[in-house]
């Protein structure tokens, strides 16, 4: 079983989801790690073109890609180019009788499905697909990407002001999300301070991103990101079905809401009925003590 991993780097290091993909690949067979190199910002098409050429020659049975936004885009185009099976955003993966068998969510997180497809296959894997090995990952081999030359050209990058250098939402172990209960963007310091103590990524409900209080990329839910952290803390979020779709697979859920009937309180492991403006500063203070002690 030849398994390739297309690794994604962030600030020179393999991303967590790439490390996990490597661990998965090692478990399934002979793992090879590849990394894309290009002189300019490359399109998914250019990346897929370079990789497809390599794959046709090297004939792996399976290509794993971390299911980050960039990874999913690349994986989809690559699978189409090769005409291989594509399994998207898999939470579990095994090989059975020459088939790739995966568990993935469907219907915006409302259904958990076991699916299968013939090999060779391209599979994008979610954070949490495997436990990262203690041993250092193999050094990635390099695949040189040439500009696609197919009528697409990179022009410029426009930075979003509101985001700093935080953990990406999709891979974070802890997520702190704020909803309309925060009343306005000026109160986000409460969410940020709590997130800082925990080293958490920031999330938001759609009410918040629609109002422009926070950037779209922070939205959790059906039309936002799906997250599966160890700890999800929701502040002033009611728990609409579309929000639950994006976070109800988190390991531990804390919800803070002043309305005891709020839907999110019904699925939370720790349902705190309180005014968030009183509770959150106190909670941040307490956590600071706990974290400092450890």
């Amino acid at each position: 079983m030849k398994v390739w991993v297309i690794a994604e780097l962030k600030e020179g290091e393999l991303r967590r989801v790439s490390l996990e993909a490597v661990a998965k690949a090692t478990e399934l067979g002979d793992a090879d790690v590849l990394e894309l190199h290009s002189d300019e910002r490359a399109s998914a098409l250019a990346g897929a073109t370079a990789l497809a050429e390599r794959a046709r020659a090297g004939a792996p049975d399976l290509i794993l890609v971390g299911a980050t936004p960039a990874g999913r885009d690349l994986a989809a185009r690559l699978a189409a180019k090769l005409g291989w099976t594509y399994l998207s955003e898999c939470a579990e993966l095994r090989i059975e009788d020459g088939q790739a068998v995966a568990v993935r969510s469907m219907y915006a997180g409302k259904v958990r499905a076991t699916v299968s497809g013939t090999l060779p296959a391209v599979v994008s894997v979610r954070a949490g697909i495997a436990q990262v090995a203690d041993a250092a990952p193999p050094r990635p081999g390099s695949v040189q990407v040439a500009p696609s030359g197919e009528g697409l050209e990179f022009v410029r990058f426009e930075e979003t002001k509101t985001t700093g250098t935080r953990v990406p939402l999709g891979e974070a172990r802890v997520v702190v999300s704020g909803g309309r209960g925060l009343k306005g963007p000026e109160n986000w310091k409460l969410v940020q301070d709590l997130a800082d103590v925990l080293g958490a990524a920031l999330g938001a409900s759609r009410a918040v991103t629609d109002a422009g209080w926070r950037p779209n990329e922070e939205q959790v839910g059906q039309t936002g990101k799906t997250v599966t952290p160890d700890l999800y803390i929701a502040l002033g979020i009611s728990g609409a079905i579309q929000h639950l779709a994006g976070m109800s697979s988190s390991k531990v859920i804390v919800a803070v809401n002043k309305d005891p009937d709020a839907d999110l309180l019904k699925i939370a492991d720790y349902a705190v009925v309180a005014d968030l403006f009183e509770f959150v500063p106190a909670f941040t203070e307490e956590l600071r003590k706990v974290v400092a002690r450890d």
Partner: protein
């Protein structure tokens, strides 16, 4: 400019999806169907372009069962100019690549300048058909798009990435897969609804398109609801400070997530 939007009809986002007894599909009874949310954003982007650039035409297309006509009707009511339904036997179990190849046949006929898809359909949640369509057509694609503007000799396209947007320029036709953007999809207007009622929606037979519908597909072995979460510990009626201290302690000692 001629735009074509690919839409899929899926259960409305408020539907509590139930899995059928054989675990292979969802129970269709009681489902309200709607245009997949990202496809609605794609329609909105196309219509905004039309608002700003008279002379633009926006077509919509779906590959689906006869009920998907309602999704097309909705798109027409929002302001799209024409709609096409591709339907036939087995259309509901068509794989992503086959769907893309069927769509590509119609794109060849319509010859749009840009094709807009959703970032992913909210039934299979794959995020595959847009890229596969571009590949079949031999076109470039840009994923996770929130905006596009016609510019000298092409189209500037905004792609959402971590920390901001990349702007790409397509010199010719391209497929865009559309992300949620700041502007919510418009509601159909009353005159729009009246007009849409009268519009004819031509139907194409899937098998007669001549598309290669073979190739790898994903088999569903079993569906189940996500593991149910049991109600947890309710914490209330205390001084916020005491509640906060208690929760911090529980997260460390009981949940062990700190």
């Amino acid at each position: 400019m001629k735009l074509l939007v690919c839409v899929k009809q899926v259960p409305d986002s408020t539907v509590r999806v139930k899995v059928a007894g054989d675990q292979k599909a969802i129970v269709p009874e009681g489902v309200t169907w709607a245009i997949s949310p990202y496809d609605e954003y794609a329609i909105e982007l196309a219509l905004e372009h039309k608002d700003a650039n008279p002379g633009t035409t926006v077509g919509v297309i779906t590959v689906g069962p006869p009920r998907a006509r309602d999704a097309l009707r909705q798109a027409l009511a929002m302001g799209c100019d024409d709609a096409t339904l591709v339907t036939g036997a087995d259309v509901e179990t068509l794989g992503g690549l086959a769907t893309a190849r069927a769509l590509a046949k119609v794109v060849d006929e319509v010859t749009p300048d840009l094709v807009l898809c959703g970032k992913q359909a909210s039934d299979d949640d794959q995020g595959f058909v847009g890229q596969a369509l571009a590949e079949t057509l031999g076109w470039p694609h840009v994923a996770i798009v929130t905006k596009f503007v016609a510019s000298d000799g092409g189209t500037e396209i905004w792609k959402e990435v971590e920390g901001g947007h990349e702007v790409w320029k397509a010199s010719g036709p391209a497929v865009l897969t559309v992300q949620k953007s700041q502007k919510d999809p418009r509601y159909p207007s009353l005159p729009g609804i009246m007009k849409a009622k009268k519009k004819e929606i031509p139907e194409k037979d899937l098998a007669s398109l001549g598309a290669d519908l073979g190739g790898p597909s994903v088999e569903i072995r079993a569906m189940e609801p996500p593991p149910a979460r049991k109600a947890g510990r309710v914490m209330k009626d205390g001084d916020p400070k005491a509640l906060a201290a208690e929760l911090a302690k529980l997260l460390r000692d009981e949940a062990r997530v700190l």
